[in-house]
Symmetry: C2
Subunit: 260 residues, 2 copies
Amino acid sequence: MSSTLSPAELRRRIRAGEHTGNTSGSAPGFVQCNIVILPASHAHDFLRFCQLNPKPCPLVAVGEPGDASLPALGDIDIRTDVPAYRVFRGGELSEEVNDITALWQDDFVTFALGCSFSFEEALLADGLEVRNISQGVNVPMYRTNIDCIGSGPFTGKMVVSMRPYRAADAIRAIQICSRFPAVHGAPIHLGDPQLIGIDDLSHPDFGDAVRIDAGELPVFWACGVTPQVALQAAKLPLAITHSPGCMLVTDKRNSQLAVL
Amino acid sequence: MSSTLSPAELRRRIRAGEHTGNTSGSAPGFVQCNIVILPASHAHDFLRFCQLNPKPCPLVAVGEPGDASLPALGDIDIRTDVPAYRVFRGGELSEEVNDITALWQDDFVTFALGCSFSFEEALLADGLEVRNISQGVNVPMYRTNIDCIGSGPFTGKMVVSMRPYRAADAIRAIQICSRFPAVHGAPIHLGDPQLIGIDDLSHPDFGDAVRIDAGELPVFWACGVTPQVALQAAKLPLAITHSPGCMLVTDKRNSQLAVL
């Protein structure tokens, strides 16, 4: 149903409380974003964290303090236009809600970050398989031993997502994703998982394990869970994110993110 | 000495018989080419072989029948401007000479193909190591189990060159080489050598073995030896190539081959 809606129509339904679930496969061709909302007092440190760690934290847009709109991405009210939100207090998940109008503060700053849905669409369009989509599960994600560069209270290890490919397809996936730095860009590792501190691919830290066939290499992309982990580590009194899979759907086309 | 010469000056020395050795490191920044010369009766089949197998056989220029010049690549006389030539009769190496004026035929067609020297220069310029250069040896090359697409009498398996990299550097090397399809382009494989029919990396079929450190992946590029193997398989009565490492030095800049 909602997959055939325009981004604006889908946001209208979300705003009206008619769509509260995940947005995977909705409004194909359009950029979906990870969302982080936090007080202006920490906005500079968080923005710098993103600037220092662009592969896991690719910034697509930053709102004005206290302003719930994101005009660069469409006619958006960030208080109502995400299907589900997670509210963190002191770094702990406290509640999950479908509307944050009651929680909104005059000093809130919204960050919209690129999401792997965009590059998965580019991989599929090229005829490559995306195993988590084939298997109908969430992409497997793993904490690595790779330190992010810290900024103020924001720090932590990089989280990666993994998709398996035969070598020739991994090389093609690197070429395709290199065109899209705003949605994590090229993979950061492939091959031996232990070299980046992952002991067991069958037990992801987030998401679901996927099948890896003989002759396939695990290919690892920097993941948008990284800034959420850093946000939790910062233990801010109040911060808000989207719920996993329930993204902000924008009017920007995936193809517009291509640098080449 | 010759490394500081312009391509035209270097070719003048080669033409005068003053430089008969390899051209590795000479005229840095300029394209060097693999050379294949054969009768016009087989030129179409060979050209089509290159068109069908562009990664091992990237065409940079094709001469007119009977014409020893290659104006697209500089003021060149292909009969004298390569430091050393190999003459094949019936597919067998019969002699190695420094001048083919006496062998030239009115129906000879010259093919100039891209060479790994160009992409190795791009890798070095980006700060990546090229192990065969660090170790001062020839790059290791291997016959694979990958069939080239045949054309007339030209057929055979793809030959690859190998350079080892840590995964992050392999990903960067893929990005760099993707810009240069005219010099073999992106690698065709990485990781497990047996998946492409290579049993023992320490025993290359051509060139010298190089060190592979812990945590490094072997990365494989399609190699310009492939068309030479196909040429030998074709058993033409007479055909001529450059001698390994003794390339045609052109006036074309490596940077001009970049598609992006």
